[in-house]
């Protein structure tokens, strides 16, 4: 009897968990990538990605929970079903496409080097020969450096973007390669006035999308429909304007 009761309660728990899961969309972001996703002084997740995630959920009339997850483990966490989508400024790459599926883009990214003002750095393979170049590990920037400069320059990768900038300011790096918009955001801060972009933007056809598990076709379709609606009804433009005076779509 006791065992039966126990089993019934256990079953009830599973059913509850199951239904709660079905109604809720859990979205992961990193929380260390200003101004796209970061934590404010109260520890709440804020930023462009978070605003887009909330707007998408409102549009889809879905109940969403946004959680923070370290960048290194963000795709493994999705595959392990800890959450259902990643809205964390993730570039759509062929390597990631092997593991996960992506929605349409919600913005486009470019890379750009940042160095001390007046450094006279020439952003070419020969100009950067033997220079110390940094980027955040597991990003498109880091892969761009590893693929193009590993043999000729001294490439260093950091666990966070902030650590790479810290080493630029400490003088350990000649230049940091970073995504253009977070770099723009960093340069805007008064304490970083001594630094500037060098060279042109590097267009590597980098599109930012929402990552979901392969086979989650319904979720993908919902996200794409909601994204289009946000673009059409002006919500996207309003969120964009809160962060950048130019369109990043």
């Amino acid at each position: 009897m006791k065992l039966k009761l126990f089993m019934a309660v256990l079953l009830g728990c599973f059913l509850l968990l199951g239904t709660a899961h079905a109604q809720k969309i859990r979205i992961a972001t990193e929380g260390a990538y200003p101004p796209f996703n970061m934590k404010n002084t109260k520890g709440e997740l804020v930023g462009f990605d978070v605003d887009i995630a909330r707007a998408l959920c409102d549009q889809m009339k879905a109940d969403c929970e946004i959680v923070a997850q370290d960048w290194d483990g963000i795709i493994p966490g999705l595959l392990a079903k800890k959450y259902d989508a990643i809205i964390a400024s993730m570039s759509i790459t062929a390597e990631r496409m092997k593991k996960v599926d992506f929605t349409d883009r919600y913005y486009s990214n470019y890379l750009r080097f940042i160095a001390k003002k007046g450094s006279g750095l020439e952003v070419t393979k020969s100009g950067l020969k033997g220079k110390k170049l940094g980027a955040q590990r597991a990003t498109i920037s880091a892969q761009h450096l590893e693929d193009n400069f590993r043999k000729t320059a001294n490439v260093k990768v950091y666990d966070t973007q902030e650590a790479a900038f810290l080493d630029l300011k400490a003088g350990r790096l000649d230049a940091v390669l970073a995504d253009a918009y977070p770099g723009y955001d960093w340069l805007k801060k008064p304490e970083n006035g001594g630094y500037d972009h060098v060279g042109d933007t590097i267009d590597i056809n980098d599109k930012i999308g929402i990552a979901i598990r392969k086979g989650d076709k319904a979720l993908k379709a919902d996200f794409n429909k909601a994204l289009k609606a946000l673009r059409d009804n002006g919500t996207y433009g309003r969120i964009n304007a809160n962060y950048f005076p130019f369109s990043i779509y």
């Binding site: 290194d72 493994p76 260093k156 810290l166 400490a170």
Partner: protein, 227 residues
């Protein structure tokens, strides 16, 4: 298992392994050199010797290696007095910072291991040496330290293996050690077997170190079983 990954990224695994091994060998040798006088100071009855040694050991055993590395690498770089000093060429280099952190850390543990060895040297041998009229310095050099090192050797081998595994932490200060390479390869492939390969390499290194230490132990302690 995708063995293509191993051929594709084999040279990066190899580069990382060499750096890890280099850091462990250099820091364990330098650490031992620092630990020898420190263990003597720690065993001393004079306050001016044992208190500094004790404080050093207490600090480095009481805080995580990760924090020590962060303080040395990111912390020191914040002070202009240091970035402008003659030390900066060394301290601006991530590998040097890793080596310094690992050396200071292992020196503390090794000093404590050696102290155990020093205390275990049979009193009779020390008394015999004194009876011969050996000075303190000669006594340490000829009797106490050689004996202590032989007694502490197996425990010291253990410390070097822990050091090898602790060396994975230098990847957090932008060193391309085995762990650093592994994490970067994983970040582009998302193939979990990358970590399995890294684990196998660490295992092989540990196995190699164990063998080396066993051989040396057999050699330096053979007088114990020779008659």
């Amino acid at each position: 298992m995708d063995f293509e990954l191993l051929t594709q990224y084999g040279d990066r695994f190899w580069d990382g392994t060499l750096i890890s091994l280099k850091l462990v060998l250099m820091s364990s040798i330098l650490g031992l050199l620092i630990a020898l006088p420190m263990a003597l100071a720690r065993s001393s009855h004079h306050r001016r010797y044992w208190i500094p040694a004790y404080s050093y050991i207490y600090f480095f055993r009481g805080t995580p290696l990760l924090i020590q590395l962060f303080i040395i690498y990111y912390g020191l770089g914040q002070f202009e007095a240091i970035t402008n000093s003659f030390l900066w060429p060394v301290l601006s280099d991530a590998e040097w910072c890793g080596l310094i952190g690992m050396t200071l850390n292992t020196a503390a543990y090794t000093a404590e291991i050696l102290r155990g060895g020093i205390r275990a040297v049979p009193r009779g041998e020390i008394e015999a040496a004194k009876a011969y009229g050996m000075s303190w310095w000669l006594l340490q050099r000829r009797i106490v330290l050689p004996r202590a090192l032989r007694i502490a050797w197996p425990a010291y081998g253990n410390e070097v293996i822990l050091l090898l595994k602790g060396s994975a932490l230098v990847s957090t200060i932008a060193v391309w050690d085995l762990m650093g390479e592994t994490r970067s390869i994983f970040s582009r492939t998302y193939a979990l077997e990358i970590f399995v390969y890294a684990a196998i390499i660490y295992f092989l290194l540990t196995f190699l170190l164990t063998r080396v230490f066993n051989q040396i132990e057999k050699r330096i302690n053979r007088y114990l079983v020779s008659y």
